[in-house]
Symmetry: C2
Subunit: 78 residues, 2 copies
């Protein structure tokens, strides 16, 4: 089972990507954790370490994939 | 079975996203077609109609999701 982490910030772009995209991942192979960085700012450092620059983003096996563009991570640090 | 189309142009960003990301989709629910717009320019109009602006992009149920950034679609039309 691989780990995938979906970082978002509750924005419309994020919600749509989660609904259509994250739910499309193979549940037999991927354990998906959903992290709302708007609410859980304690996870910001982890997202940045993984190379996340904007949300929504999906980190699969440690590699960041930015999906469309909702908000820059810097906007969440303010 | 839903249809997902992965549009790419053979760039390193595209190849990485395909390997890690597209292969993570649930094969029980999604039939994935991979289209190389660099070789198959005849599919450019279809990609644009779906709202694709850059590659790599995955179109799921008609909605475009841009993954990271490899190349603008306009660069492929030249």
């Amino acid at each position: 089972m691989s780990k995938a982490t979906y970082f978002h910030a509750g924005c419309p772009v994020c919600v749509d990507a989660e609904r259509r995209f994250v739910s499309a991942l193979d549940p037999a192979r991927y354990e998906v954790e959903v992290v709302d960085l708007g609410r859980d700012k304690g996870r910001l450092a982890e997202a940045k370490r993984a190379g996340v620059q904007s949300v929504p983003a999906l980190v699969i096996d440690g590699a960041p994939f930015h999906i469309n563009f909702g908000a820059a991570l810097s906007a969440l640090e303010a």
